[in-house]
């Protein structure tokens, strides 16, 4: 005797029912939580920008952001100006940090679109920080960074993050030992734009030489490292015209 659950009609009905139930459940969860998730992302952006400026609660070797309840105050205290650079046009916009770099990158693939480049000018202890958000590709997924530069494009601080690099390998780009290496590195070499290369077999493992445009790579994460190099080169280059105007 055929069981009720073996019938084709039952199978199809079950499948339809399942899709409706699961679909509406997920849609409901996603829309109900969207506000909170967006708020978390916004706070994270502020924390990342502050981190690149050296405003953080780091201990010995850990990465600690400014706490959630303090971030809003600290952000308005240290970040003085937010700019949007679009071609030759520079406008001030205090929501510039909410610009989605990923979306801008996709839109910019069309020739008719001029990519909007956000830039945050911060001030800490008399020092001026120019923080730029950049984005690239790692081994598995996207990687992105906030780079704080001075007016000569010397790195004052960085914060790297990734969507899905291998834990223990590529994911280590967001560890202190990697990020701190970038501090003081020059992006220019003898007056021309060079970027910063993540290299293996670095002759300078302690990173004493800050003008060699090189930092030491992480063992076992060659492709993520190359992704960081490529991201820094192609994205920082876009900001060079702006930094030329500061001279």
């Amino acid at each position: 005797m055929e069981k009720r659950t073996d019938k084709n009609s039952y199978t199809i009905l079950f499948a339809i029912g399942m899709v409706i139930v699961v679909g509406s459940l997920l849609a409901y969860a996603a829309s109900a939580l969207k506000g909170k998730i967006d708020e978390n992302k916004r706070i994270e952006k502020q924390q990342n920008i502050l981190y690149a400026m050296g405003v953080n609660e780091n201990e010995e070797a850990s990465v600690e952001f400014v706490s959630k309840d303090k971030v809003e105050n600290e952000f308005s205290k240290y970040v003085k100006k937010q700019l949007v650079i679009q071609g030759d046009k520079i406008t001030e916009d205090d929501k510039a940090y909410l610009i989605d770099v990923k979306k801008e990158k996709t839109l910019a693939k069309e020739d008719s679109y001029q990519r909007r480049l956000p830039l945050f000018i911060g001030d800490k202890e008399g020092l001026t920080f120019y923080v730029v958000p950049i984005r690239g590709k790692g081994l598995w997924d996207a990687i992105w960074a906030y780079v704080a530069l001075d007016k000569d494009m010397v790195v004052l601080g960085v914060y790297f993050d990734h969507a899905g690099e291998t834990p223990g390998l590529g994911a280590n780009i967001k560890q202190r030992f990697f990020m701190d290496d970038f501090i003081g590195e020059h992006v220019f070499s003898n007056g021309s734009f060079k970027g910063i290369n993540v290299v293996k077999g670095n002759a300078d493992p302690l990173n004493k030489d800050k003008t060699d445009n090189e930092v030491d790579a992480i063992t076992g994460s060659t492709i993520t490292g190359d992704g960081v190099t490529a991201m820094l080169r192609s994205e920082l280059k876009l900001y060079v015209p702006y930094f030329k105007t500061l001279k």
């Binding site: 998730i37 899905g164 291998t166 223990g168 076992g220």
Partner: protein, 232 residues
């Protein structure tokens, strides 16, 4: 499939205590004699991918514990209405839904934790242990037994993950949970073991060494556990 369900119902007629010997065995068996990784050799892909760090191993173990425990119960409750022709699809949908909902909730209420977990979402959905337990156990047993089975198997999985993660992080990076335990390896400022000429083995961080460490664990387990020693 239908027959198995029928038989199970007949066999279960006298009421069993919650923690009967048989039920306890469901939890303890996968820890040793029937370990999902070392004996059934399931879930190897995730065991290789994420054990370069002890912390990642622990997070993954907890995530699988939750998904397998809850998923087994859900599948078990639905076992009599799931059409057998599309049961694998139904299992996949259940596990994917669970993982996505957990991910969304974490993103809203524990953002930091969700960032650590996001890497594992894909790995959990495709973990063969989860599909294996749904198919082999939850479809034929009641919710309580299925829950115990889920807990047992994810512990068995987690224990091996943590053992492999421990050795890989210790020998590969000289750290445990991110803390340096063997001294400072940076050239020029060497302390601890490194000052005596010890070097981290970078190969430990790559997937092939996970396989070798796992092989050694299986070897030790098989040579010590008499139940597992084969005649020939």
């Amino acid at each position: 499939m239908a027959e198995v369900v029928e038989q199970e119902k007949v066999a279960k007629a006298p009421k069993e205590p919650l923690f009967s010997k048989k039920n306890r065995k469901l939890v303890t068996d996968p820890l040793t004699d029937n370990n999902p990784i070392t004996i059934q050799v399931l879930g190897i892909c995730s065991a290789l991918a994420i054990t370069a760090e002890l912390k990642a191993s622990i997070v993954m173990a907890i995530a699988v514990l939750f998904v397998l425990g809850v998923g087994n119960v859900v599948i078990s409750l639905m076992r009599n209405i799931i059409p057998s022709k599309i049961r694998i699809i139904v299992q996949l949908v259940v596990v994917a839904t669970l993982v996505i909902i957990v991910d969304l909730v974490l993103k809203a209420f524990a953002y930091e934790l969700s960032k650590t977990l996001s890497v594992f979402v894909g790995l959990i959905i495709t973990n063969c242990i989860i599909m294996g337990r749904f198919e082999a156990f939850a479809l034929a047993n009641g919710p309580w037994k299925a829950f115990l089975d889920g807990i047992g198997n994810s512990f068995g999985y987690g224990v091996i993950l943590i053992i492999v993660g421990f050795f890989r992080e210790l020998l590969g990076s000289g750290t445990l949970l991110g803390f340096p335990v063997l001294g400072n390896p940076i050239a020029g400022e060497k302390t601890g073991l490194y000052a005596l000429g010890y070097e981290n083995n970078g190969f430990m961080l790559l997937a092939p060494m996970a396989l070798i460490v796992l092989g050694i664990v299986i070897w030790i387990q098989r040579s010590r556990n008499e139940a597992l020693i084969e005649e020939n």
